[in-house]
């Protein structure tokens, strides 16, 4: 998907050094394997012929452990592909937008407010500074989407204070 093959900002920067992110990935895979085994152990034993439900999680956990080792070797050899420099701020902005969306839906704020919040933060993450203008655009756009899908296609979208006015 993302293998543009473009040279990174630090050509050969990953070089032969130990890659810390790679170590984290390997550790995460090993932890996931542990969760699988722990969960499989809680399943009551069945007296079926063949495999019970606990067999496959264990097989996958073994695979994950092997892959954790593979990733660990790559990380220690510094074999990971070079990474481009990144700007963390827009990423956090979008994540905040997603959190707002989840919160607004969770507290019954409705579809229009929730997706508008996501729209405005995403647009800001991509460099727009006109928050007020974007908020208006977002409200109009999501209201239209709500009307089209809720009224025309009878898809049920969660309603909040704004939706009840329509």
């Amino acid at each position: 998907m993302s293998s543009e093959g473009a040279p990174g900002d630090h050509p050969g920067g990953a070089g032969r050094r130990v890659d810390r992110a790679g170590l984290v990935i390997a550790a995460a895979l090993a932890a996931l394997a542990a969760v699988l085994v722990w969960d499989a152990n809680k399943l009551p034993a069945t007296s079926m012929y063949g495999m019970g439900p606990e067999a496959m999680p264990v097989v996958i956990a073994v695979g994950l452990v092997l892959l954790a080792i593979g990733n660990l070797i790559d990380a220690l050899r510094g074999n990971l592909p070079p990474r481009e420099s990144m700007d963390p701020k827009p990423v956090w902005l979008i994540i905040v937008g997603l959190a707002l969306l989840i919160g607004i839906i969770g507290f019954g704020g409705g579809f229009i407010l929730a997706t508008s919040a996501l729209f405005v933060t995403t647009s800001a993450a991509f460099g727009r500074r006109a928050v007020v203008a974007d908020s208006v655009i977002a409200l109009v756009l999501t209201t239209l989407i709500y009307l089209a899908f809720d009224k025309l296609l009878t898809l049920s979208l969660p309603a909040g204070p704004l939706e009840r006015l329509l």
């Binding site: 998907m1 990474r83 969660p158």
Partner: protein, 500 residues
């Protein structure tokens, strides 16, 4: 032979009903409109539009799907040519030459050769599908559960390990998908696995939530994180849209050769359209009478790979429809589309719902024809979609992406999963892990598990059943070779490099 014609004629009768024609038209239109947006490939197009089809009957919905599928592919090549952002790796060859043509003011002929080439390839490949499918179905009815399990092992390995950049990273993606597939109630015993007492997890992870999170949210986060790198430039379409005599002469052979690469490779459970498109590109480069133009905008370099891409898309429908085996992210989304109606593609579906299957195949012809008629005249509209400023574009994509999940399951847990998968997709892009194997692992993992358990239940727990069936033994052997080969080749290369 005669049967195929009769079945296809019946399918045409289904597909040509006015309502179904309308569904196909809507599908084609929506598919192209969404597919044309930069960064959105056909798999995401299908995932985003899946909720739109919820309310339709299965027949109409699948027909709309056929349109969305091909429409998304056409849209993707338009984007590749006009702004050099291939939505998927299979469009990379198109972006290579097509964008150069657009820069040189020959965007029109580039779009035309890609549209007509896709039409030619899609039509030939769909004919191939219509004739190959019944034959394969006859073969597949004799498959036992152990054979299916072995076949899925082949698909797992080829999709994740054999053809990617790194077998370790590909397999890591696959196993993350397999792990996600475990979540929920075990279908054979009714016990909950990995649900951690959260009721929403008992139904398992929705394929659409995973795909939209990984593809749409992940892509938006990734593009945002590297916005300070050079921005893409939209090439205006200047000059004539039509191909000259010379263009036609240089295009028709690459179309046919591309089809010949695309369809068989797509039909094998080998996954992905990358290989046929690159094979086609390098072949055209070798055979061309204008080698000086390659890399600067050679029409053969657009015509061949585009045909290969479309032919392989139709090719992946062969294992999907006859065996229920998705070998690309897009095919996995199509399978999810079937599953939302409780339909399982495979030999049984051909026997039980021939109207559905053949209606879908016939709709592929119709969608292809509609696209040819629609795409070139509407190119101005698609270009305007491409000109949407990036902040609004991605904000809109995210609103639309979350809307699908909100409509299907408006719960905090489901939306948190969507956001979590988005962050996972972002990290996977950043650390160069392939995404398609996760989706394939999620959708195919539970099926493979139940086939294996069925096989072992029949054999009273004797694992040798996997090797006693010649079919299953052969397939497992192929899977093993495909798994080991990339590692051996890599070590060999390292060994050679040390020798030098």
């Amino acid at each position: 032979m005669i049967d195929t014609f009769a079945a296809l004629a019946h399918g045409m009768a289904v597909a040509l009903q006015p309502m179904n024609l309308l569904y196909a038209l809507i599908g084609v239109f929506l598919g192209t409109a969404v597919g044309v947006l930069p960064g959105i490939g056909p798999a995401l197009t299908v995932a985003l539009l899946l909720p739109v089809t919820y309310k339709l009957d299965p027949g109409g919905s699948l027909i709309m799907f056929a349109g969305i599928y091909y429409g998304g592919m056409y849209g993707g090549s338009t984007t590749a040519i006009l702004i050099n952002t291939p939505g998927e790796s299979a469009s990379m060859a198109t972006a290579l030459e097509g964008n150069k043509m657009a820069k040189a003011g020959r965007g029109g002929p580039a779009l035309a050769t890609s549209a007509i080439g896709s039409f030619v390839a899609g039509t030939i490949a769909t004919i191939g599908l219509a004739f190959l499918a019944p034959w394969l179905v006859d073969f597949a009815v004799r498959f036992g559960p152990e054979d299916y399990f072995a076949l899925m092992c082949v698909a797992f390995v080829t999709v994740s390990a054999t053809f990617g950049d790194s077998p370790v990273r590909g397999l890591t993606s696959l196993f993350i998908g397999l792990t996600l597939g475990l979540i929920g109630i075990d279908k054979l015993t009714g016990q909950a696995r990995l649900a951690f007492g959260i009721p929403e997890l008992l139904d398992g992870v929705e394929v659409t939530t995973l795909a939209v999170g990984l593809f749409a949210v992940g892509e938006a986060l990734y593009v945002a994180s590297r916005r300070h790198h050079a921005e893409e430039k939209l090439e205006p379409v200047r000059g004539s849209l039509w191909m000259t005599r010379e263009d036609w002469k240089r295009s028709w052979k690459p179309w046919l050769r591309g089809t010949l690469f695309g369809f068989p490779i797509g039909a094998l459970p080998a996954g992905g359209a990358e290989i046929p498109t690159f094979l086609s590109y390098s072949t055209e480069r070798r055979l061309t009478k204008h080698p000086e133009e390659f890399g600067k905008g050679a029409i053969e370099g657009v015509a061949g790979p585009e045909a290969a891409n479309n032919a392989s898309a139709a090719g992946t429908l062969v294992p999907l429809l006859t065996l229920g085996l998705p070998t690309s992210a897009t095919a996995a989304m199509m399978l999810a589309g079937f599953q939302q109606y409780g339909l399982n593609p495979g030999p049984l579906l051909f026997a039980e719902r021939p109207d559905l299957v053949w209606g879908l195949i016939a709709s592929l012809f119709i969608a292809n024809g509609m696209l040819l008629v629609l795409n070139l005249p509407l190119v101005g509209l698609w270009v305007r979609l491409l000109a949407i400023p990036q902040p609004w574009l991605y904000a809109g994509i995210l609103v639309f992406a979350t809307m699908g999940t909100i409509a299907a399951k408006p719960s905090v847990v489901e939306l948190s999963m969507l956001a979590g998968f988005g962050i996972m997709g972002f990290l996977m892009r950043r650390f160069d892990f392939p995404i398609a194997p996760v989706v394939i692992g999620l959708i195919l993992g539970p099926i493979a598990e139940s086939q294996l358990r069925r096989a072992l239940a029949i054999s009273l727990g004797d694992p040798m059943v996997l090797l006693q069936s010649p079919m299953s033994a052969t397939l497992l052997g192929i899977a093993l070779i495909a798994l080991v080969a990339p590692f051996v080749l890599k070590e060999l290369r390292r060994f050679k490099a040390n020798e030098d």
